[in-house]
């Protein structure tokens, strides 16, 4: 219990009849990066807003760092940094002025303010443009300024709503690096995103949202095992006679699926790479590629929602 920074039990949000967040249980552990995934309208933002006490809770309870966001929102908000979906700053002010306002709201001692703001801006590579008006900032810079705000706040928990949406690959990479740095500083991070392969690379655990419910929760590997089935997927490119037949004859191979011209996907119970190489060469074929496929979150996600749609 004390290891969890956020604990939601039966958290419920109703908009009229609609159960937008349907009695979810969710725990975020100290120092981990947790990903909230799900299609548009799944209820991710609503869940986040309830954790911050920014929207009313219809039922259940949530506990953030030992505080109740309904009754003690100020305590929660003092310790939790929030980067909203499409964050906005005061365009007519500079980055430094924007952060100074936040610092005043946080009641940071005045003599510390300047140093903390500069440190925060430095950590997100915005120190050079600290005195430029935010109106001149690109999307990625604003997003980074939002991270700087969290760094300045010295938050124990960072909640980031779609932090990478609308960023180019390079900016996304940089932002994820900053998120990793937050984690290294001991901050627990809760983030929601659509960019699955990116999320996969930073998240310790993820929860898959669907229609207000958590469909799956765990590490990426756990989820893959649950949805795609346990096993070692391989991608093989080779030329020769009856490769598929050769592959199918290997002990432990469960499935061989063609994956394009001269390529096959193999699912096996255990690591059969050595055996595959041996058999193909022995059969007079030539092996051009043999790779171990990491279970991808994208695949888990797509497969899960395909199945969910079929089931419906």
């Amino acid at each position: 219990m004390s290891d969890n920074v956020i604990d939601a039990r039966g958290l419920l949000k109703l908009y009229g009849e609609a159960r937008v967040v349907d009695a979810i249980d969710l725990s975020i552990r100290r120092g981990e990066i947790f990903g909230l995934l799900g299609p548009n309208g799944a209820g991710k933002t609503t869940t986040i807003l309830m954790m911050l006490g920014l929207t009313e809770i219809s039922g259940g309870s949530v506990n953030v760092l030992g505080f109740n966001p309904v009754r003690q929102p100020l305590e929660v908000k003092r310790r939790v940094g929030y980067l909203p979906d499409a964050v906005g700053f005061y365009d007519n002010l500079t980055a430094r002025e924007n952060l100074t306002y936040t610092a005043r709201l946080l009641d940071i001692p005045r003599r510390e303010t300047d140093a903390r703001i500069m440190d925060a801006l430095q950590s997100v590579d915005l120190a050079e443009v600290a005195d430029k008006r935010v109106a001149t900032y690109s999307r990625g810079m604003r997003q980074r300024l939002g991270i700087a705000e969290i760094v300045m706040k010295k938050a124990e928990v960072a909640i980031l709503d779609e932090p990478t949406s609308g960023l180019d690959p390079h900016a996304t990479f940089e932002l994820l690096e900053m998120i990793r740095r937050l984690k290294r500083a001991g901050v627990a991070v809760l983030l929601s995103s659509h960019l699955l392969d990116r999320v996969q690379s930073v998240c310790d655990r993820v929860a898959l949202f669907n229609k207000g419910q958590i469909a799956l929760m765990g590490t990426v590997v756990e989820l893959a095992n649950q949805v795609l089935g346990a096993g070692h997927p391989l991608l093989i490119e080779a030329s020769g006679k009856d490769i598929a037949g050769t592959l199918g004859g290997i002990a432990g191979v469960r499935q061989v699926v063609p994956a394009g011209e001269g390529a096959w996907r193999v699912t096996a119970d255990h690591d059969v790479r050595a055996e595959v190489a041996h058999r193909i060469v022995a059969a007079g074929g030539s092996l051009t590629k043999l790779s171990d496929l990491q279970p991808s979150l994208e695949e888990v996600y797509t497969r899960y929602f395909q199945e969910a749609r079929h089931a419906a």
């Binding site: 309904v70 009754r71 003690q72 007519n92 005043r104 709201l105």
Partner: protein, 323 residues
């Protein structure tokens, strides 16, 4: 935000200081402030300058000469200063307030700011007070200009009681501005679009200035009996008309200002024979009597401001923060 405020911990005023300071700085450095200043010069200083021209000829014959600067109807300019203010103060307040809250939505700053340790109460009140201060600063500047001009051009200092009455006038003007600021802010809470909220506030302003007097008259006419048989009946009708008129903040403002700046004003409304008794026509009332006279008007303005502010507060508490 919890509906049950009793269960909340922490002061609702946490963070109000920074909000107030930021908003004030924003107002004072904005282009809008420049426009407001221009407004003041055109609508205020101009009529006053011409009334001063006229007053210089009557020096010595009037005990309340200084107050006449505010009230005299100048020959060249068709609107006296007070009437200009009655008209312009709401416009200034609307200009300051129509986008106080919805601009935060539109800039997507609201959820970020509210995720800092402060309640919505502090945000709303801080914004309102900063707007009111800005308005007060503008009106005070105008007041000082008029006063200074009077000192220079009339060449004689005002008496203490004149200063007191003029200060009272300034206070009433600020309260009047506060009502319209609250109204403008109310629309900025209700409507997400700044254009809509500005339009609604301006619409209400036009309504009170153009339509309401006509409507009040029409309603009163509907109550007129075929034959007026007694004085009481006549007075009753007069009072109805007045009561309707007083629903408009502008009426309250002009009545209060009239009593303050024209010490001869003995009553606001139809004068009854009982009030005439013992009253020498033209004898000025002492200040405390004048204050007593305008007390209902002043409380009316302040109450109106509080009611409208509370309405925006209630709506704002229930609003979703996401843009």
């Amino acid at each position: 935000m919890p509906r049950n405020h009793a269960g909340r911990e922490g002061s609702p005023f946490t963070g109000i200081g920074p909000v107030y300071m930021k908003e004030l700085a924003d107002h004072l450095s904005s282009i809008r402030m420049l426009v407001l200043t221009l407004f003041i010069i055109v609508f205020g200083a101009f009529p006053v300058a011409s009334s001063l021209q006229q007053l210089r000829t009557t020096i010595g014959s009037d005990a309340y000469l200084f107050l006449r600067i505010f009230t005299i109807e100048p020959e060249q300019v068709p609107i006296p200063f007070i009437q200009a203010l009655n008209f312009v103060i709401p416009l200034m307040a609307i200009g300051l307030g129509f986008d106080l809250v919805n601009s935060e939505f539109n800039r997507r700053t609201l959820s970020r700011v509210l995720s800092q340790p402060l309640y919505r109460d502090a945000l709303l009140l801080g914004k309102f007070l900063a707007g009111l201060t800005t308005l007060a600063v503008a009106l005070m500047a105008l007041w000082l200009i008029v006063f200074g001009a009077g000192l220079l051009l009339l060449g004689l200092p005002p008496r203490g009681v004149e200063v007191a009455r003029a200060l009272g006038f300034l206070m009433v003007a600020i309260a009047y501005g506060g009502v319209w600021l609250a109204i403008a802010m109310f629309f900025s809470v209700v409507f997400r679009s700044t254009a809509t909220s500005a339009l609604c506030a301006l619409g209400l302003w036009l309504f009170f200035f153009i339509l309401w007097p006509l409507i009040a008259q029409a309603i009163t006419m509907a109550f007129v009996p075929p034959e007026i048989t007694s004085l009481d009946q006549f007075v009753g009708l007069q009072q109805l008309a007045l009561a309707l008129q007083r629903l408009s903040p502008g009426t309250l403002f002009s009545e209060a200002v009239l009593a303050l700046l024209n010490p001869e004003t003995r009553t606001l409304g139809p004068m009854l024979p009982s009030q005439m008794r013992g009253a020498i026509m033209g004898a000025p009332l002492p200040l405390d009597q004048s204050l007593l006279l305008i007390w209902p008007q002043v409380t009316g303005l302040i109450a109106g401001m509080i009611v409208v502010f509370s309405a925006s507060y209630v709506i704002f508490q229930r609003e979703e923060v996401r843009a």
